[in-house]
Amino acid sequence: MTVLSLLRVGDLLMQVPLLRALRREHPDAHLSLVVNNGVERARDLIPEVDSWIVFDRAGLQASLGTAEYHLLRPLRELQGWMLDSFPEPADVLYNFTHNRLSAHLAAAIPARMKFGLRAEGARFAPLENEWMRYLNERFSSDRACLFHYVDLLAGAFDLEVESPMPAESKGRRILLQTTTSTAEKERSPEFWRQLLKRGQEARPDLHWSVLCAPFEVERLSRTFDPKDLLVQGWRELQGTLRETHLLVTLDTSVKHLAALEGVPSFEIGVGSTNPQRTGAYGRGHFFASAKLADETLIDLVLDAVAGRRMLQAQRSDFDAWGYTLACADYGVREHEVERMYWGSLLSGEPRQSAGLIGHDMMRAARTQLEDAASLYGQIKLNVDASLNELRAGRPCESQVILLKNALARTALLPQPIRELFTEVTALAEVGAPNVLGYLGMVVHSMNILAGRLSVRSQFFGLNEKGESRHDRDGNLSEHGPTAS
């Protein structure tokens, strides 16, 4: 059994649940893993693999880019590697990589059966199933993608991935992963210095350390006191994570290692990082946008360390959008219902039975959304009225009444917005001066919710008015509600 995984260490670590699934399904098979050079340093972390075959991507690229070399030289090097590495056809080849290079490699490597993207001559073989097509069309594009990378691959290769255990703190260490493979994904050294200082002051009972690979000692010693550096290679780090309370990290492979060990991570996402697609796999991990101010981020980290929900970490002066992102404890998995629906479709169940799989849940969710859609309008009215009251400078009491009315109707709304309502109402009751700002946040959150409701309405067959477009048998009508 051969698996192609020609990405980076972090991607490979994300794929470990899939390798484990393969190992469970084929306990006696010899599992060979084809990786790019450099990635084999993760060898000790993945005992499921029997043999590692290193694809010398860098060497071949060097040959290709050397004008003094014959045009056929890299070709001969590659053909020699193929003969040495794959003397016999494998029973099965899985291409976990899903890019053009791996598709051509999958075509060239001898195997009796092949799964995943592969070339057929100059073209590509048809994709095998709906999951594969979804992965192909959505994962690396700007289109919405509801599934984590691991879940997509599990669907695409029909593998039973074990649900990861919720991440739990396992010791008294706080680890800071301050560097990434590219400078564009990093946060300023000053931020990390401040976080370390405030963390050590606020929680001296915990052991705060900055993770440092052996080759980073010189660089990180310029930013941190050497006594705060924890210099470790992969294998030692795996052991250290097993006694770690929280890993604070950028978008790095270390967060995936922490996820494998069931250790909570707090990711500070820079740039295009998308926690729903490639965040630490499993529940109990946190994500905050790097757009937040340093102080805010540090507050959020300290709240996560303390085990408080991030929602309670709010202060007063950060903007609503940043706040919403900061609340995105994506382990909560807000899209569970949409994922179920799409999952059943992608797995090939007929549309009718998509509604029958988890039928009760679907029906309940639809009712809940219909209710929420109608409630949203009423709540929004109350909030708008409250805002008008505030703008008109009327007594605070009426705001409180309006907000309480709104609050009474929020039972069906997502937990973060409900808690926000509670807090704003409490602030209004004590006549806090910045209630207007808080209300702005609530309205913003409501608008985001409204956007989601609209999307969900499409999934669940609701028309613009929130009416069902399904007939009595659950079939979707193209023309609005079916007359009963």
């Binding site: 690229q61 003094e68 045009l71 060239a108 100059a122």
Partner: protein, 183 residues
């Protein structure tokens, strides 16, 4: 008499060409046929076999008359471009695919011949690629696919050749893999 500039030029050139191969082809002997760069290269790569190709026979004579040089492992030749495909050197190049190193200060009035020879020996011209594909047993028609000129052909061009080959080139998969690796 060799100038200091020539020494420096030769040393710099030899420093830049550290390939670690057991055989290299060097094009050009340099001004006056002194071959200082060959000497420098030998000093840095003991045990490496060297074939020097020079278009000007007089420079070859001058070089071979140096009394201060050990010519062990060094072969110097004047190539015949028109019959090169049948030259045993061509077959050896196909078998071993050595680096072909240009000493451009030595090209002088023979620049176009040296450039043609370089592209021929590295398979990076239409005629060179055709020649080596024939040695591989391929019947691909390179001429229909590659637009040549002075541009050095790359794996992308070879990719076009195998894509256009309806018979299915035996190394086509490997060529397509390499095409994806081009930066």
């Amino acid at each position: 008499m060799t100038s200091r500039r020539t020494f420096v030029e030769a040393a710099t050139w030899a420093d830049r060409h550290d390939f670690g191969d057991t055989w290299v082809v060097i094009l050009g002997l340099g001004e006056g046929g002194t071959g200082e760069h060959v000497l420098e290269f030998c000093a840095r790569n003991p045990g490496t076999q060297i074939t020097v190709l020079e278009m000007n026979p007089q420079l070859v004579t001058a070089f071979l008359s140096r009394t201060d040089m050990d010519f062990t492992g060094i072969e110097v030749r004047v190539p015949q471009l028109e019959t090169f495909a049948s030259d045993p050197l061509c077959l050896r190049v196909f078998e071993e695919l050595p680096p072909v190193l240009c000493f451009e200060p030595g090209f002088q009035s023979h620049r176009s011949e040296f450039e043609r020879l370089f592209r021929l020996l590295t398979g990076r011209s239409r005629e060179g690629l055709e020649m080596f594909l024939k040695l591989m047993g391929s019947t691909c028609e390179v001429g229909e696919v590659c637009t040549d000129g002075k541009r050095l052909l790359t794996m992308k061009d070879l990719g076009f050749v195998v894509d256009a080959d309806k018979m299915g080139h035996p190394g086509a998969s490997a060529v397509r893999i390499l095409r994806e690796l081009l930066l």
